[in-house]
Every structure is written in structure tokens, then in C-alpha cells.
């Protein structure tokens, strides 16, 4: 029996590339081509962010082997010895063995034969003052960029990109590969989110979809549009009513982004380059789609979730749940670095997670919610190395430096992103407080936490 997905897919395929092309499409809100090259407000610089939701056990990810406290005493079933872990060469920090695919990036600047320092930065002890141990609050803070603000439902990454002329109104400025948009990318102007490109289509034949979509009104909010674009680009059913300002442009963006994505798919099956092999699961497929979209569309900001990090029970040491997702993560980043070599100098890949976990293993062979966590940053201009995990930044007792239970942060996540925004995208340092309200105040209050790590040229 043909299921619904098949039917939709048939409809979608029929419509491939034939839906109203957005690049030559409506001039709604004076957007796009008028503003210059699409998605190119900052040149061709691109960012991919990977959200490790659940709170990654940073201590078993980037292992402080040089700390005598890291031992079987605190981690009876999770301890990884220095002979098992992957050495990072600073005599202190090691990687979980499942992260082996990352070593290719750590050791080599690129795959084109030029040897040099690697371009994977391993950042440890990242957090913010007074960390929350609630998933919900902590994710909120990591995404809205304002720790302590439980209510701000707008992302700091959105704010940074929305500041780029033309970016948010672009028909396809980027996307989050999930059924819902991450808060990081949420803002007044909607960004596309979808779990898989293939299903991101309207049902019906080309002509039917075209008739359904119709046309935008001649002026924003006008009544002379038609079809789907006419109602979503036209007058709201309740002027000034709740959520109209979010829903209406989401509809328009839906029509435009579906068109762009389907045109990208219509270019044919996607074949990763340079021997890139993505993990054989949803996360891997989504990363491959991210690479495809970076190559075939003007998108410059893409994000994705990888779940499973809330390892309260049976975390696994060398094998098991946590090692498996570490392996997926590392394989995925390695595949991106290979696949995107042609744009590697313009690309930055960054991982985030809402907190680390308890330094002491719990009674269920797992770990509970903690504080400081680890991030990976990869890209052509990244100065490879280990940051915040060496004898000079890792004091004795660091594993119990917060609440006697967890690793305290040494560096605020906001300064990590400030470095990316300034060094990779060339943003004015004065704009940081605009993207992350309270930034300047916090930086003055916590100068140590707000010292840039220097992982970008």
C-alpha cells in the first residue's frame, strides 16, 4: 500500500524545481537581490552549528588526563585511562577514543595535501556565571544569549545574522534541520526548519502547487494577492492579533524556502566529495543535507540537533550510549570537513551543549547535570589546539570547582561566539552587546570569563 509519505514524495518530485523560483520571485518587503548577493552580506562566510541536547559529559569527551582526580575513584565504571584515550599533544588533555575521526582535522589543515597546524579547536570549561542545571533554562540561555533571562524567546545567532543587510528576508538564508526551529535561530522574521529536504514539499502536481501558492499582494499586507501567498502575505485575519506577525511571514517563508529546497534537490542526487562519509543515521543524513544546501543554495547559516547526551544511566565508557554519539558527532564533523573543503576557509563548524555533567559518576553508571562543558570549533581559519585544558588553566581540584560536584567554567560561551562573530564574520566588537544583551556588563564584571581564547586567525 502506498503510504502518505510516498504520495507526498510523488507530489514533491513532480513539483521539483518547478515551483515559483524565489530568486526571481516576489519583491516582497524589498528584499533579496536588491540587497546584493544573497546571503552574502558578510561575504561568503558560513556557519554550521551542532546542538548536543541533553548536556554532554565534557569530562569524558575532552579528558583531563593530567588531573590526578580524574580516576577510577570518581568514575568507577566510566574512567578512561591515558593509554586508551587519544592524545592531543599538550601533555594534559586527551580525547575520548570514539572521537578518533576528529584527529584528522586536529592534525591537518585540509585534505588537499598541505600539511600544517590543524584546524580543530578543542575548548574546555565553557559556560557562564551562575549556570542553570535545568535542561530547559540552560538551553534557553545558550540560545537566547542572555543567561538568566527565562522569557526571551529570540536567539542570539538570529540577532547576529538578522543584522546582516538582506539576510533575514532572503528566501533561503539558512535552515535548522529539525521539525522545529531552534531558539538560537528564532526571531521576528522566520527562518526555515525541516527535518529532511525530501519531505519539504507541498502535495500536488506542479500546476496544482503553483495554483495553490498563487501570488503575493502588490504591497505587503495588501488584499490583491492570490492563493497561499495571497493570504499569508496579505491582510491578517486579525490586525495586530497575537502571533500574526510570526505566523504570516512564516507562511511566506515556507512557500519560498520549499521552492528553493526543491530546486536544490532537483539538481540530482547529492554525492559527498573528498571521501566524506556521513554517519548512517538521521544526524548523518541531516549533515549531508546541510552540505548539499551550502553548495546548492545561498544558505549561510545551518544548524542541527544531535540528542542522547542526558546520560543519567548506563552512559558507557569505551562502548555504549555516550561513545556511540561521540562517534556520530566526530564522524559527522570529519565528513563535513572533507565534503566542504572547497569552502573550508569560509566555513566554521561549532558544537554546543547546555552543560557538562557531574565529575563523580552516579549510582547508575551515569552522570548527572553539571556546569562547565566542552565545545569543538572547526574551520579553515581555526587555529587548532586545546584551550582551557592544560596545567596553566586547570587548577588542582578543578573537577570540583563548582558546588564541589562539577567543573566550573573558565570561559563564557558568549565570548566564544564573540570571537567567531568578530574574527570569522568581521563583526564590530561594539555589536556584541546588541546580539547578546548584557554582554558588555558581564564582560566588565567577569573579565576572566570574557577573555577571548584566540582560536581564530
Amino acid at each position: 500500500m502506498l503510504n502518505r509519505r510516498d504520495l507526498l514524495r510523488t507530489g514533491g518530485l513532480a513539483a521539483l524545481g518547478l515551483i515559483m523560483p524565489p530568486l526571481t520571485g516576489p519583491n516582497f518587503l524589498a528584499r533579496k537581490l536588491l540587497a546584493g548577493p544573497i546571503g552574502a552580506g558578510t561575504g561568503a562566510k558560513k556557519m554550521i552549528f551542532i546542538w548536543q541536547r541533553g548536556g554532554n559529559d565534557a569530562v569524558n569527551t575532552v579528558i583531563p588526563s593530567g588531573d590526578v582526580d580524574y580516576s577510577q575513584v570518581i568514575r568507577p565504571s566510566l574512567f578512561i585511562s591515558d593509554t586508551e584515550a587519544l592524545d592531543l599533544g599538550n601533555g594534559f588533555a586527551q580525547l575520548h577514543p570514539a572521537l578518533d575521526p576528529l584527529m584528522e582535522i586536529y592534525n591537518h589543515t585540509s585534505l588537499n595535501g598541505i600539511a600544517g597546524p590543524g584546524n580543530l579547536a578543542v575548548l574546555h570549561r565553557i559556560g557562564y556565571p551562575e549556570q542553570s542545571r535545568s535542561h530547559f533554562s540552560a538551553q534557553q540561555f545558550w540560545e537566547n544569549g542572555v543567561p538568566g533571562d527565562e522569557t526571551l524567546d529570540e536567539g542570539f545567532i538570529y540577532r547576529r545574522f538578522a543584522n546582516v543587510p538582506g539576510f533575514p528576508d532572503d528566501p533561503f538564508p539558512g535552515a535548522f534541520l529539525s521539525d522545529a526551529l531552534a531558539l538560537s535561530m528564532r526571531g521576528p522574521i522566520p527562518m526555515p526548519a525541516f527535518p529532511a529536504t525530501e519531505d519539504y514539499s507541498f502535495s500536488g502536481s506542479l500546476a496544482e502547487v503553483e495554483r495553490f501558492l498563487g501570488a503575493l499582494p502588490s504591497t505587503p499586507g495588501g488584499t490583491d494577492g492570490s492563493g497561499f501567498y495571497g493570504v499569508y502575505g496579505g491582510k491578517p485575519d486579525m490586525e495586530g492579533g497575537p502571533y500574526r506577525d510570526a505566523l504570516m511571514p512564516t507562511g511566506v517563508k515556507l512557500g519560498e524556502s520549499v521552492s528553493t529546497v526543491q530546486q536544490a534537490l532537483a539538481q540530482g542526487p547529492y554525492v559527498p566529495e573528498n571521501g566524506a562519509v556521513y554517519p548512517n543515521n538521521t544526524f548523518g543524513q541531516q549533515l549531508a543535507e546541510i552540505a548539499m544546501l551550502l553548495k546548492r543554495t545561498p544558505a549561510s547559516l545551518l544548524g542541527v540537533n544531535i540528542g542522547g547526551w542526558d546520560t543519567h544511566t548506563g552512559q558507557g565508557r569505551i562502548t555504549g550510549a555516550h561513545p556511540n554519539i561521540l562517534d556520530d558527532l566526530a564522524q559527522g564533523i570529519q565528513a563535513l570537513s572533507r565534503d566542504l573543503q572547497d569552502m573550508w576557509e569560509d566555513t566554521i563548524v561549532v558544537t554546543v551543549s547546555e552543560f557538562g555533567r557531574t565529575s563523580i559518576e552516579n549510582g547508575s553508571s551515569g552522570t548527572d547535570h553539571g556546569a562547565g562543558t566542552a565545545m569543538f570549533v572547526a574551520g579553515g581559519n581555526v587555529i587548532g589546539g586545546v584551550y582551557n585544558c592544560d596545567p596553566s588553566t586547570w587548577e588542582a581540584g578543578a573537577l570540583f570547582s563548582e558546588n564541589d560536584r562539577y567543573l566550573a567554567a573558565n570561559t563564557d560561551f558568549r565570548v566564544v561566539f564573540a570571537e567567531i562573530f568578530q574574527q570569522h564574520f568581521g563583526d564590530d566588537p561594539a555589536t556584541m552587546d546588541q546580539f547578546m544583551p548584557g554582554y558588555d556588563l558581564a564582560a566588565a564584571q567577569y573579565p576572566g570569563l570574557f577573555t577571548q581564547l584566540g582560536f581564530l586567525t
Partner: protein, 1024 residues
């Protein structure tokens, strides 16, 4: 392709249609007088539009009434002047309805209003009734609005607030579906005659077995022995038969013996069978059962079916099936069961897993079960669409979401559960999810039945629900090793709200409170109602029996050092003669168990064993008065390093470390490595009753070391006869249920202090032993239910669900929430504490709904259509609006694609009530694709009848058709602007050309359905 902008034709089409005389009613649209360009305000652009219209022939005036500023019945220069005077010189306001409010033209004149962003002229009472049903229910059914208007809003709300319990009377649409998607297990006392995982002799059907293979006297000694179940490739097999995948093998034959007392006095006997695909079963040589296809057709033909016959039709092993077998086929004493199992052609998976049981049926009503997660996920649709208890159903889903749990996590736990002998009790995912889906269903059912009751009951039932105990890891919360997962979430998510009145210390203390709260399986007789199963909990595990030792550790055994074969054959090879009952062991040594050396657990120490001999042999006689007694015989054995066991001359078990040794193993055989660590393996001796005789029997063992140089060996055997107590339930038993267990041994009995230094400080004394330890949790739950922060958090969530998203813990604590919502919250908190026992949800909701006066934020029209529908609300309201059938299991997939996966959410916070979380490109896309699919009737699963709304013989034109569905979906509230685009959509063909709707054409209904799909795609339909 180029951008298809608004053509002149588009606008013309709409005006043309509206101008024709038969549709003057449509020209009576509400408007704001003077807002000529319909931009929701009067300013200089409006007189300019009038002038443009007068002198340049602009068609931009869609609402002539709005341009007739002085209400003179015509549009002229005076209108522009009137406006200019009003704007700049303080002239009088344009006549009714004026420039600010939408309204109809009070004057009968020759001009009308064709296009306006004002809501349509829907009857306010009907609009209000529609709003009510969208909030307290999943939107109105087609006749709901009329009903509400007929009985009145107060009466409607009174009945919704007092829905009654039990089966809904006179609602066959609901009860038929509920019955169809549940099953019933009759209550019975189930006992095994042939226990699970019994050893069988088996023969693979590469040729026909001897003709008498099923007969009792058949010699099966050259068949292989394996334990049930047999099969390949679906993870339910103990003995794997890879030939079903690697060859064209069609069949296998299995047989074993079992022992009965008098079958005539036994309760009804059943073959309890897992099979994939077909089988024929024989008792004592006679066919007693044969599988068929679900439709009754034969899977196998012939008596017996030949070895190379494939099953005609597949059948998956999931949940055991019961085949009744008349007792006349059985005989007292030893009986033979023989089964031939057949695979379907080209079918890799195969299962043959039989047991025999008796069932003594009770007259109690059976237990309702839900067979799968797919069926479970139908219930929010079935009930959401068909239940007349709409408020209760909405709240049931609300609580289910508030106390969210994950059916899949529960399923994994149950699927991996093993019985006493180390075998998984449920082979397959299919079988496990029957349990997990049923438990989730029962949890959800409790929430729905008690949705308008006391919050404390909901909180307590959640704390003690098996899904929750598993989901938030409380089953891993032990005194010695606390797990904080549940403790954190009950404070953060279930009661107080995030960071609302608790500390990290409180979390740690609450974790200690709930140590020992776990799950077990209980027999039917122990099932209690809420709250008794919490306040008077089960405190022991499911395994409970009284034991009599037949062979105790420390008793003397005869033993023989393995310096040579004890009973060599003619060439010196091993035999099992020494294991026979009649063997004369008088020459053997005698010593008490344990026998061994080197690890301190030996009463008989073999000081000369290391480097001299690798094995020794042992024998023990014991007495069985009657092999057919119903007690449970069990052999326990701890060993180092390997052992092979014999009963009356037949091998009955060997340790896995001896699997590579020959049969029988020679005295020189080496074992794999195994240490005796006090966790003996258990062997179900009931399987071997046919080997036993009344009187003296002999147990024999050969024990092997890993190497001759090994410095330790152990042999610690024990045989027991056991009588289950009333607490006992076999995990393989279909009866009974998973239930809350308070296990005192894992409970932290130390003193605890929660909310220290606050008015709600709870001091729990130390030393609450035994079952009293459960009081810690009960007192904490009472404290939480009576805590004002709990009341605040729950009331805020209720306001979010029923009234407005503009309220949160944060906006209440900083005072930024709208004042009327703050006032409503205060009233609801007063209601929360107005009852003797605080937290009566019905009372709190009555305050929110105010059925008598119908005042307050719930009734404020500013809060109407202000909330985005969640996916379940979107699907239910769509199907209800058209009275579409709701039996499809595809609905859950649609809901998932829209971002909601009820009963299977990974995160513990439940799905959001806040609209912004449901606005996104994918969820909108899925909503639109779903709506259009429903409207078009292309799925058999959710059909609706257009005849309920339109009589095809009436020949309704476009405008009438739009009006009909405007009323059905929106109670007539569409703006003229929306209607205009809908009509344009309806009357435009695929080439963008005008396409009048022809009532006589055979595409009439199809086109209307397409238009309904478009109407369901409107932004307006996203709101409730």
C-alpha cells in the same frame, strides 16, 4: 518562470462576482468608515485614495461604504473633504460604524462593501460558541454551535464541568472505536503444565521424519536437544535455527514429554503458542491444534503436512495465542507433545515457542489492554473527536502532557526483562509494547477520569505510575546510590515550576525521599485501586515461595577424582554409566558439599587436585514421592569452572563453560573460566519431571577446571521443592500487572528536610522502617500539592491552555503579565485553596470559565483566536469541523510530522502551550498538507460527507458555497478580503484563467473540496 503578480483580472473577478444582484448580502460586509484603503486607521492616505478613485479611476477601493465617508449613499468630493476636515481641522467623526470599529452600514443605500479586513458579520453568539468549543474542546462539531445556543452557555459549561465517569452513555461512535482499538484479557488463574523454555528434541525438515515421530513411543534420542523457543531472526529465539534463512528449509519438528496428575480434574488446558508462521501440534500422537490464517483459511494441508510444505500465509509471533485442548487428549502421568512448525516461502524469520497452561476463569471483568503504541496514540483522536466530554478529554491530554512519560523507554525495559532462569519473558517488541502501551493507556485514562478532580491525586498517581517510575529513572534510585532525575523534575516540571521555590539541596533531599520507589509485577488478587496501591503498597518482589530443601549444601555426596574415566567404554572413552540410578558408587569417596579447593567455599577440600587432575565426579540420591506433584522443583548450582549435570542417567544441563566439550565430556576435558561468586545459576527441574521416578532418584555431576594447574574449583549444588505464596507471580504469566513497589531495603531511612527555612518546611524523621518509609513520599506529595507555588504554577499553565499565552512564571514574578490575567490568577489561587482539600481542578476551572456571569479574560473577545492550535488540537478540530471519520492510525504520524509525538516524547517537559513554539515552516507545511488531504477525501481513513453541508441539487454558486463553509469553519467570521481570495482560488484554473463554478459539472464536489482545503490552510484556521 516569472513572478505571477496580481493581475487586473484577479481583482475584477472578485468585484464582478460581488456586484451581481443575487449576492447583495455579501456586499453588506462590516467596515470602518473612512478607512478607505483598509489599513486599519484613518490618515491622509484615505482621502487621497478617494480622490484617486474619483479622478484617476483607480479601482483600489474595495469597500465603497468605507469611502462613503458622510454616508450620503454615493462617493464624491464631499467624502474626501469630510475626511480632510476630520483629520486636520477637528471635524466630526465619520458616522457609524466610525473609523475605529468594524460594523455594518446602518443606512440602506445603493453601495456596499466588498473587501474589508473586518471580521465578517458572523452572529456574535455563534462566534462565541465556536470560541468556547475551541477552548474547552477540540473545536465544534457541525451542530455544536446550534446546540450550545439552544441549551445556553451556562448549562453547557455545567455539564462539561461535571462530566460523570465510566462509559459515556449513548455515544456508540466513541465506544465502538474504543472497543475496536482495545482488547480484553479474561481474568483467570493461569498455571503452567509445560513451562517456558522447556527442552525439546528437534529435527529439521530437510526430509520427512519417521512416520511415528509424533507418537509417545518414538525414539527421539538421535534428535538434537534445544530449549524453546526455536527459530531465527526476530530476537525471540533461545535456540537459533539459521537454516531457515540460509537454506530453503520449510519445517522443523519438535517433541518433548511432560507429566500430569489427572487431566480430568484440571481446569481447561491451552496450548499457549508463539508461532511464525504455521504449525500443527500433537498430544500423544493425535493432532490437537493447527494454525490458520487470520481469515480462517488453511496455512497447511495434509495429515500430516509434508516436510517440504511451506506455510500458505505468514504469521508473526508477537503475543501468545491460546489454543484450547480438551482434557480427553491427555492422560495421567507422562504425555508427549510434538509440533511441526512450517515457514512461509522466502521468509527468513521463524518462531516456534510452545507452552501448556491451565486457566481457571474468574467472573471478574477482563482487563482492557492496548495492543500497540499505534493504538495507544489513537486515543487522543478517538476521544478528542467523538467524546461529548470535551473539557474532560482536553484536560486528560493536558495532564498526560504535564506528567509526560515515554512509552518507548518503558517498552525497552519490559522487552529486556528476564525471568528467574535468565530467559527473556517477552521475545519481541510486539509483545513488550502490549504491556507498555497498556500501562501508558491506564495512566492516561486515570488522568482523564480524574482531570477535574484533585491535583494531589494526579500528582500521586503519577509518582507511583510504572511509566513515570521507569521514565525518570526512579527505579534506579537507591539509598546507597540516589538518582536525582525524578526529584528534579517533580519539582521543576510537575509541581513548583522551574527555579520556583526549591534549591539543589531540596532536589537531593527529594531524591532520598523517593529511594525504594520502584516497580514489580503482582498477581491479580493484589491489584488495588488508587490510592490504596500507594498508601498500602506492595513491599516485596514478585518471586515469593516457601522452600523445602531436598538436597542441601553441606550434605554428603559420593565423589570420584578425575584421574581416569569412572566408567570407560571398551576403548577407554567416556560413558554416562556412572550417572545411572543403578550405578554402584560404594567405592567412591564421601564428603559434604561444597566440594573443591582453593577459594574458601569448600567443605570437602581436594588438596591434591591442582596439577594432578582437571575434573571430578559426584553423585547424590534423593527422594521424590510423586513426580507429578504441583510444587516447583529447582536446582541451584554455583561452580568453578564448569559442570555437566545428569538426572537418572540423562544430561539435563551444562554450564556455558562446558559448551565446547564433547557429550559426555572425557575426564581430561578443560572448561572455560568461571568463578563461584555466590550467584548460582538456577535450573527449572520441572522440565525434567518425566525423568523422575517415585522413590529414589540420582543427581550426578562432573566438574571440570579451566586448566589442570588452576588453583581453585567449586561445586555447590542444592535441590529445592517450592510452593509459591499468594504474592508470587511468574513473569511469564499473562495474568497480573506491573505495579508500584515500595522496596524498604532500598529506602533511605535517614532524616530529611525539604524546603528548609520556608513556611512549607517538611521534616521527615529518621527510622521509618519497612512499609512506613513510603510515608516520606506521601507526605512530600501532600506538601507539594498544598504548596502555593504549585498552585501558582499549575494555574498559570491552565490559563495558558484555556485563556492566553501572555502569562508565565516570569511575567507573574516581575509583574509584567497583563493585569486581567494577574487578577484571574489570583481568583484561581483563591479557588485552589477554597476547598477543604486544596487543589480541586473543577473548582479552579469553574473560576476560570465563570459559567454564570461569563465575565473575565476567558470571555474577553480580545483573547479569542489568540492561541495557536497545537498539532493534536489542529487535527482534532479539523476532523470535528467536517465531522470526518477519525479511525486512522495515520493521524499519529501526521501529529508526529507536525512536531508532536504524544506518549513518546523524549524530553520530560511535555509539549509547549505557547504559540510561538508551534509556528514554524515544517509544522505549517504538515498542517496544510494534512488539511488539504482531509478536505479532498483522498484517504479512506478520514472521509467526510459533503452532503452534510451542501445539497448538490441546490446548485449553490461560489459565494454561497464560501458562505456555507465560512459558517462551518469560522461561524461566519471571515473577512471580505479572505472571502475574496477564497473565491478567486475557487474560480481560477490551473492556467490562472477564470473558471466559474458550475453546479452541474461533475467536478463540482471536487472543486468545493479543494476550496475547503484552501480554507483550512488559511492563517485563521491555525488559531483557536
Amino acid at each position: 518562470m516569472t513572478y505571477r503578480g496580481p493581475s487586473a483580472g484577479t481583482l475584477f473577478l472578485c468585484l464582478f462576482l460581488l456586484l451581481i444582484p443575487t449576492v447583495t448580502i455579501a456586499s453588506d460586509a462590516p467596515f470602518r468608515r473612512g478607512d478607505v484603503n483598509d489599513d486599519e486607521g484613518v490618515d491622509i492616505s484615505d482621502p487621497i485614495t478617494v480622490l484617486d478613485h474619483l479622478f484617476n479611476g483607480s479601482q483600489a477601493v474595495g469597500c465603497l461604504d468605507a469611502a462613503d465617508v458622510n454616508d450620503s449613499g454615493s462617493i464624491d468630493l464631499a467624502d474626501a473633504i469630510y475626511l480632510l476636515t476630520y483629520i486636520f481641522s477637528g471635524g466630526s467623526s465619520p458616522p457609524d460604524p466610525g473609523p475605529f470599529d468594524c460594523g455594518l452600514d446602518p443606512t440602506l443605500d445603493g453601495i456596499g462593501c466588498f473587501q474589508s479586513s473586518c471580521d465578517g458579520a458572523g452572529d456574535p453568539a455563534r462566534v462565541a460558541a465556536g470560541h468556547l468549543m475551541h477552548r474547552i474542546g477540540y473545536g465544534p462539531l457541525p451542530d455544536d454551535v446550534d446546540q450550545i445556543l439552544a441549551v445556553g452557555i451556562e448549562a453547557t459549561l455545567t455539564s462539561q464541568l461535571n462530566p460523570g465517569t465510566g462509559v459515556e452513555p449513548n455515544n456508540p461512535a466513541l465506544s465502538d472505536l474504543e472497543d475496536f482499538f482495545t482488547s480484553e484479557i479474561p481474568v483467570a488463574d493461569e498455571r503452567f503444565l509445560l513451562r517456558p523454555n522447556a527442552p525439546f528434541h528437534y529435527f529439521l525438515g530437510f526430509e520427512e521424519p519417521p512416520v511415528d515421530w509424533a507418537q509417545p513411543g518414538f525414539d527421539d534420542s538421535d534428535w538434537i536437544v534445544g530449549k524453546a523457543g526455536f527459530g531465527w531472526s526476530d530476537n525471540d529465539d533461545v535456540t537459533e535455527i539459521p537454516q531457515f534463512a540460509s537454506t530453503d528449509l520449510a519445517s522443523m519438528y519438535i517433541r518433548t514429554e511432560f507429566i500430569l496428575t489427572d487431566p480430568a480434574v484440571l481446569p481447561p488446558i491451552y496450548l499457549k503458542m508463539l508461532h511464525d508462521d504455521a504449525f500443527v501440534a500433537y498430544i500423544n500422537g493425535f493432532e490437537v491444534a493447527r494454525s490458520t490464517n487470520a481469515n480462517g483459511t488453511a496455512q497447511l494441508v495434509g495429515n500430516p503436512p509434508p516436510f517440504n510444505q511451506y506455510s500458505n500465509g505468514t504469521h508473526e509471533a508477537g503475543i501468545p495465542e491460546y489454543y484450547p485442548i480438551p482434557d480427553s487428549w491427555f492422560q495421567p502421568g507422562i504425555n508427549t507433545i510434538a509440533i511441526q512448525g512450517h515457514d512461509a516461502p522466502n521468509n527468513g524469520d521463524f518462531t516456534l515457542d510452545p507452552t501448556l497452561v491451565t486457566q481457571m476463569f474468574s467472573t471478574d471483568p477482563g482487563r482492557r489492554i492496548v495492543l500497540s503504541d499505534g493504538n495507544l496514540q489513537r486515543f487522543p483522536f478517538i476521544r478528542g473527536i467523538y467524546s461529548t466530554r470535551q473539557l474532560q478529554t482536553v484536560l486528560g491530554e493536558f495532564w498526560e502532557n504535564h506528567f509526560t512519560t515515554d512509552e518507548e523507554k518503558l517498552r525497552d525495559l519490559i522487552r529486556n526483562a528476564r525471568n528467574r532462569y535468565g530467559f527473556r519473558i517477552l521475545g519481541s517488541n510486539t509483545a513488550a509494547r502490549m504491556h507498555s502501551a497498556t500501562l501508558e493507556f491506564e495512566e492516561y485514562d486515570f488522568f482523564r477520569n480524574n482531570a477535574l478532580g484533585y491535583f494531589g491525586d494526579l500528582l500521586m498517581s503519577s509518582a507511583a505510575s510504572v511509566p513515570m517510575l521507569v521514565y525518570l529513572d526512579n527505579i534506579l534510585n537507591f539509598a546507597a546510590e540516589p538518582n536525582e532525575n525524578y526529584a528534579r523534575e517533580i519539582l521543576e516540571l510537575h509541581s513548583l515550576g522551574v527555579d520556583n521555590g526549591y534549591t539543589q539541596t531540596d532536589i537531593e533531599e527529594v531524591a532520598r525521599v523517593f529511594t525504594g520507589w520502584t516497580v514489580t509485577r503482582i498477581p491479580n488478587e493484589m491489584i488495588q485501586e488508587f490510592p490504596d496501591y500507594v498508601t498500602n503498597p506492595v513491599t516485596t518482589g514478585n518471586h515469593s515461595w516457601t522452600t523445602t530443601e531436598l538436597v542441601a549444601i553441606g550434605e554428603d555426596w559420593k565423589y570420584f577424582k578425575g584421574t581416569q574415566e569412572p566408567t570407560p567404554d571398551v576403548v577407554g572413552g567416556p560413558t554416562t554409566a556412572w550417572t545411572e540410578l543403578g550405578y554402584d558408587d560404594s567405592a567412591w569417596l564421601t564428603g559434604p558439599t561444597g566440594i573443591g579447593m582453593g577459594d574458601g567455599d569448600d567443605a570437602t577440600v581436594l588438596t591434591d587436585m591442582q596439577n594432578n587432575y582437571i575434573s571430578f565426579y559426584a553423585r547424590k540420591t534423593f527422594t521424590i514421592n510423586n513426580p507429578a506433584t504441583p510444587d516447583r522443583l529447582e536446582l541451584e548450582i554455583d561452580y568453578d569452572d564448569g559442570v555437566v549435570l545428569y538426572l537418572n542417567g540423562t544430561e539435563i544441563a551444562r554450564s556455558p563453560t562446558m559448551n565446547d566439550a564433547p557429550t559426555p565430556p572425557p575426564f581430561t576435558a578443560a572448561s572455560g573460566n568461571h568463578e563461584a561468586v555466590g550467584r548460582p545459576i538456577l535450573i527449572d527441574l520441572d522440565h525434567f519431571r518425566p525423568l523422575m521416578i517415585a522413590g529414589t532418584n540420582v543427581l550426578a555431576a562432573q566438574v571440570h577446571n579451566v586448566t589442570i594447574g588452576s588453583n581453585d574449583t567449586s561445586f555447590l549444588p542444592r535441590v529445592t521443592s517450592n510452593v509459591p505464596t499468594s504474592r508470587h507471580i511468574d513473569l511469564n504469566n499473562r495474568q497480573g500487572r506491573w505495579e508500584f513497589l515500595f522496596y524498604p531495603a532500598n529506602h533511605d531511612t535517614g532524616a530529611k528536610t525539604i524546603f528548609e527555612g520556608t513556611p512549607y518546611q517538611l521534616d521527615i524523621p529518621d527510622g521509618r522502617l519497612g512499609v512506613d518509609g513510603v510515608l516520606d513520599g506521601i507526605e512530600l506529595l501532600d506538601t507539594l500539592a498544598a504548596h502555593p507555588d504549585t498552585a501558582e504554577f499549575i494555574c498559570i499553565k491552565l490559563i495558558q491552555r484555556f485563556v492566553s499565552d501572555d502569562i508565565s512564571l516570569a511575567s507573574i514574578s516581575d509583574g509584567s503579565a497583563p493585569l486581567e490575567l494577574q487578577a484571574l490568577l489570583a481568583d484561581m489561587l483563591a479557588a485552589w485553596f477554597s476547598t477543604v482539600r486544596p487543589g480541586h481542578i473543577g473548582t479552579v476551572l469553574e473560576t476560570l470559565l465563570d459559567p454564570v456571569n461569563q465575565q473575565g479574560p476567558f470571555w474577553d473577545t480580545g483573547n479569542a483566536r489568540a492561541k495557536i492550535k497545537t498539532p493534536v488540537e489542529f487535527i482534532n478540530s479539523t476532523l470535528r469541523s467536517l465531522y470526518a471519520d477519525a479511525s486512522s492510525d495515520d493521524l499519529a504520524n501526521w501529529m508526529k510530522d507536525m512536531g508532536m509525538d504524544l506518549f513518546q516524547r523524549d524530553e520530560p517537559d511535555g509539549y509547549s502551550e505557547i504559540g510561538l513554539d508551534w509556528i514554524g515552516t515544517t509544522t505549517l507545511l504538515e498542517r496544510i498538507n494534512f488539511s488539504r488531504r482531509v478536505a479532498s477525501n483522498v484517504d479512506n481513513d478520514y472521509q467526510w460527507d459533503i452532503g452534510n453541508f451542501i445539497d448538490p441539487t441546490q446548485g449553490l454558486g461560489s459565494i454561497e458555497v464560501v458562505e456555507v463553509f465560512d459558517e462551518v469553519l469560522f461561524q461566519g467570521a471571515l473577512t471580505e478580503a479572505e472571502k475574496c481570495i477564497i473565491i478567486d482560488y475557487l474560480e481560477t484554473d490551473l492556467d490562472g484563467l477564470p473558471w466559474p463554478l458550475d453546479p452541474d459539472a461533475n467536478n463540482y464536489e471536487t472543486r468545493i473540496r479543494d476550496m475547503v482545503g484552501f480554507m483550512l490552510s488559511l492563517p485563521r484556521w491555525q488559531f483557536q
